[in-house]
């Protein structure tokens, strides 16, 4: 297990010298390349939340109706009658800029898995999108690709895409934002978590085969890979919604039995993050035999298997003796099923391949010992409010109104939502175009209302007020359709946190969100942070997208925004 780890290799894994020294310290030796790859994944910003964790703690996450707050695959809230709503929002910004169709499609696939992995049937998708200036040469291509990708995936899996938001601003010219949200419904006594348990129990891999998708890192510098494998390694993952649909049905079918102890989707860092998270949450070790991993191609190496980002895969721990039952279900749905290892009491992630031990890492060193940064920040001074006297009075109010309504940020989004099947499952009772989407809880009188909101220019002008406003806007949109707001999920899209101004925006927005959540008794139950959204040193507008979910106990009480009759009175509330 020895490789020469050069400074170049360390750098290509996105680790700095200090972080590498920390790895040697916690491991008590130098890692080999595979182990370095695993640390690089687990200690990445994406998995470790190393820049954001300290501040995320400020968000309120509890309420009597919250069953599970942040930390699991998605948040869970009680909606009465023994049922729960499970939801989360996540970003897929960078992949969508490289390849808009597949990037957005796999973003939808990923967030769906986060929700059904907990036992919920997904009932609605939302999408919060940010593109560059409409006249920027790339915008049209990116917009049409992203919308087609979201539709292509969501329509095929049969989950209605019921709403979202779409903004245009030059700060997103080189870094679009694609945030996808899924809401699902589960029985409260059938919610599944990711903590592995039971020494000796089988660790099972299901879904698609593993390919060489999206593997980065120091691969070129390594002798393990020829140029040929490099050429074969696509940086963009291709989504297969047909497989996802079967995976949803197969998982829900297995979940209705008594076979599963723990389950986790293979997200961004695939087999690595799923196995480490399951072992870490359960306080156990995992012994995996990588020779058993179903592979799409010949000659795949452990490094590739552990870092692959192939889609539509899950990891589960089964109760002893339930393997055959589970296998039969996955067979029926024509999906791969393989027992790839066991739970151990070693506390280590131990990987073997073709009979050799190829990695052996204490699990807590990957999670608890990950670096946490208290990055310096400066709170930008809020921009002075604009008074009405500072704005020229329009000559023609009608023309001004038309100009506003025809502008890119206010014009109709029909072109977008008509490409999404927003009615499949036949429970959408408020379609896109209203304040919030409303979806019936199948077979009940209840309905869920969902809205995503954020006004990035407010956040740029005053991060704290902007953070508050975004939370409050979802709250208003939910109440406007007659729902009682329950909780939010968020997707915090910001620039480079190593720059104190950006970090200041981040901290300010969180503090504002926290204040609004407290005031409205409207906790955060799940979320996602996406940092380093910038091109050539210019960050995007700070964009803390908020996804709010509310409950209508009686769906018939739903309000809409259509004016029903001439002569009805319009009433303005608020100041």
């Amino acid at each position: 297990m020895s490789d020469v780890i050069s400074p170049a290799i360390i750098q290509e894994h996105g680790l700095n010298e200090e972080e590498y020294a920390r790895i040697e310290r916690v491991l008590g030796r130098a890692p080999n390349l595979l182990e370095l790859g695993i640390y690089s994944v687990m200690w990445s910003e994406h998995c470790s939340y190393k820049s954001s964790r300290l501040h995320l703690k400020k968000l309120p996450t509890k309420a009597p109706w919250v069953i599970c707050g942040p930390g699991e695959n998605a948040g869970v809230v009680d909606i009465g009658d023994g049922q729960a709503a499970i939801f989360k929002m996540e970003s897929h910004n960078h992949p969508s800029f490289i390849e808009p169709y597949q990037g957005a499609a796999t973003g939808v696939g990923g967030i769906l898995r986060d929700v059904f992995t907990m036992g919920a049937r997904p009932v609605a998708n939302m999408n919060a999108l940010r593109f560059g200036a409409p006249e920027h040469p790339k915008t049209r291509h990116l917009l049409s690709g992203v919308v087609a990708g979201i539709g292509g995936y969501g329509n095929c899996v049969g989950v209605p895409t019921v709403g979202g938001e779409t903004d245009f601003h030059p700060s997103y010219n080189g870094n679009i934002l694609v945030n996808a949200m899924t809401v699902g419904v589960a029985e409260i006594d059938k919610i599944f978590y990711s903590a592995a348990a039971g020494i000796g129990n089988s660790v099972v891999y299901v879904g698609s085969k593993t390919g060489r998708d999206g593997i980065h890192g120091a691969t070129m510098a390594s002798t393990e890979f020829s140029e040929d494998t490099e050429e074969k390694r696509p940086t963009v993952q291709v989504g297969d919604p047909f497989t996802e649909k079967r995976l949803i049905e197969a998982c829900l079918e297995l979940m209705s039995t008594d076979a599963i102890i723990a389950i986790q989707d293979m997200g961004a860092a695939g087999l690595t993050s799923s196995s480490v998270e399951m072992a870490s949450k359960g306080g156990v070790g995992f012994a995996l035999d990588l020779s058993k991993v179903p592979c799409r191609e010949d000659g795949m190496q452990p490094y590739e298997m552990m870092l692959s980002e192939s889609q539509e895969r899950m990891l589960m721990v089964l109760k002893p003796g339930h393997e055959a039952e589970a296998q039969a279900i996955f067979r029926k749905w024509e999906l791969d099923f393989a027992v790839i290892g066991q739970i151990t009491d070693s506390g280590n992630l131990s990987l073997t391949f073709e009979g050799d031990l190829v990695a052996d890492i204490p699990v807590p060193s990957l999670t608890d010992d990950a670096p946490i940064y208290d990055r310096p920040y400066v709170q930008p001074s809020p921009r002075a409010p604009l008074g009405p006297d500072q704005v020229a009075r329009p000559d023609d109010y009608g023309a001004a109104l038309l100009q506003l309504m025809g502008g890119p940020n206010l014009s109709s989004r029909r072109w977008i939502w008509e490409q999404y099947d927003h009615m499949v499952m036949a429970d959408t009772i408020q379609r896109p175009g209203g304040d919030a989407a409303v979806v019936r809880v199948h077979g009940t009188q209840k309905a869920l209302a969902i809205s995503t909101d954020c006004t990035p220019r407010y956040v740029a002008a005053d991060p704290k007020e902007g953070g508050k406003q975004a939370v409050a806007e979802t709250w208003r949109n939910l109440t406007a359709v007659g729902a009682t707001p329950l909780a939010i999920t968020d997707c915090l899209n910001f620039g480079n946190p190593e720059r104190p101004q950006i970090m200041g925006q981040f901290v300010g927005a969180i503090e504002g969100m926290a204040e609004a959540c407290h005031a409205l008794d409207y906790p955060v139950v799940s979320g996602n942070v996406s940092l380093y959204n910038e091109t050539n040193g210019t960050g995007i507008l700070p964009t803390p997208a908020i996804g709010g979910v509310g409950l209508l106990k009686n769906a018939q009480r739903m309000a809409g925004l259509a004016l029903r009759r001439t002569g009805n009175r319009l009433i303005l509330i608020g100041k």
């Binding site: 095929c156 049969g158 649909k245 024509e334 490409q419 999404y420 009772i429």
Partner: protein, 231 residues
């Protein structure tokens, strides 16, 4: 009355169809998995919408080669009413129970919206409750609903009064503008020769309850199933 609901890997409107059938008959349809090879004695067969096999290769192509298909063909030839909606319509053309083929929408985009449809014939178990020439509204949600038949076939369909619906304007005119997906003759649904098999792209099962925004689809199930309910 026994209704069979056929599902394939990737079907996703099966539940909606079951709800529609049950809301009219009071009974759940029998769920039939694509790989089964016997149907038993059924009085009605429904092929739901969705993306069987991901719409890969051609919509409905792979589903059309499933184990249950020979049984469906036999039942269809015996006169058992068959309703294929959206992907179900695509499958019925692929197996040859209905003429023509469904190609990519002319505008290339997926389209999901309510559309006006003109009832072209009330001479079938499915459309018997509608008035010929009237306009109804139902949602469409498809990427490949562009109906093609060659001109001879089209003429035959016309002559034999086998066109069930056409895309039209709100006031019922069949115009090129109202043709949402490029279908020949604005055709949205067709019947087989014996008028017992209907394939259509619009989704009547998504318009059965006032909360859907209308109930124009309900009549289709009522017409077909009330007749069969006596069996």
């Amino acid at each position: 009355m026994k209704a069979a609901l056929i599902t394939f890997p990737g079907s996703n409107c099966d539940r909606d169809m079951a709800v529609a059938i049950k809301s009219v008959t009071g009974r759940d349809p029998i769920a039939v998995w694509h790989s089964e090879t016997t149907l038993g004695d059924v009085d009605f067969i429904a092929l739901p919408g969705g993306f069987s096999y991901g719409d890969y290769l051609r919509c409905g192509a792979i589903a059309a080669r499933s184990g249950i298909i020979p049984e469906i063909i036999r039942a269809g030839k015996r006169g058992v009413p068959i309703l294929g909606i959206c992907n179900g319509f695509q499958i019925l053309t692929e197996i040859g129970l209905l003429p023509g083929a469904l190609m990519r929408n002319a505008g290339l985009h997926f389209i999901c919206r309510d559309v006006p449809l003109r009832v072209e014939t009330s001479q079938s178990v499915f459309t018997g409750g509608y008035r010929t020439g009237s306009v109804v509204h139902m949602p469409v949600a498809h990427h490949d609903g562009n109906y093609f038949v060659d001109p001879d076939q089209q003429k035959r369909l016309d002559d034999e009064d086998r066109i069930a619906w056409r895309y039209c304007t709100k006031s019922g005119e069949v115009t090129p503008q109202a043709n949402i997906n490029g279908s020949v003759g604005n055709i949205a649904g067709v019947l087989n020769e014996s008028r017992t098999i209907l394939g259509m792209m619009p989704h009547p099962e998504r318009m059965i309850d006032p909360a859907h925004g209308g109930t124009d689809g309900r009549l289709l199930f009522e017409s077909a199933l009330s007749m069969l309910a006596t069996l």
